[in-house]
Assembly symmetry: C2
């Protein structure tokens, strides 16, 4: 799980349904995108889960909307986006959000 | 995947790590909370995925922040929240967000 600063900051909620194809290529690209995102200015973290039914939710956290725009326009990321639309995803939704309030809980050990 | 209206609307991002216990009781309560939430005024939808490693992401969508507060304070939901802290979750984070912009993609069939 991702530690984030006090709000406000920004989140991109990416929900998707994977087509059942090119698993190795997709996994390689997904790993590469995490590495690239981590080098972007304003990147705060990312969490990603995909279920056995192919539904996935990835949430990335960013300091500013400008940081999100720069990441959207990053060249290698743009190539991955093209492959996503052409091949990897049956459907997806992208939502850009402003995080207003946040809480954490950790159980006593 | 959830169809939502044009922004702005609100999202609650709930990320959690499940303790390895009470799977039947947890699944029953999770199903019940979805049913209850669907009856709440202002509820727009929910998406939830949990990975084999126990990390889960649930995103619920709401028309207003007031709808989120009413759901937080709903009596049976409060009991489930107590069980979540006492038993089901090792860690969790809750983030209340305002969705500013959104896009959908669907592949040609």
């Amino acid at each position: 799980m991702t530690s984030t600063p006090h709000p406000p900051y920004f989140a991109v909620i990416f929900t998707s349904v994977r087509a059942d194809n090119d698993h190795a290529g997709y996994d390689r690209a997904a790993q590469r995108m995490v590495e690239l995102a981590q080098r972007q200015p304003g990147f705060l973290g990312v969490e990603s889960v995909r279920g056995a039914d192919g539904l996935g939710i990835t949430v990335s956290y960013w300091q500013t909307e400008e940081a999100i725009r720069r990441w959207r326009d990053e060249a290698e990321h743009r190539l991955a986006q093209q492959q996503g639309r052409a091949k990897w995803y049956t459907r997806f939704s992208l939502r850009v959000c402003r995080v207003e309030r946040a809480w954490d809980f950790a159980a006593d050990q």
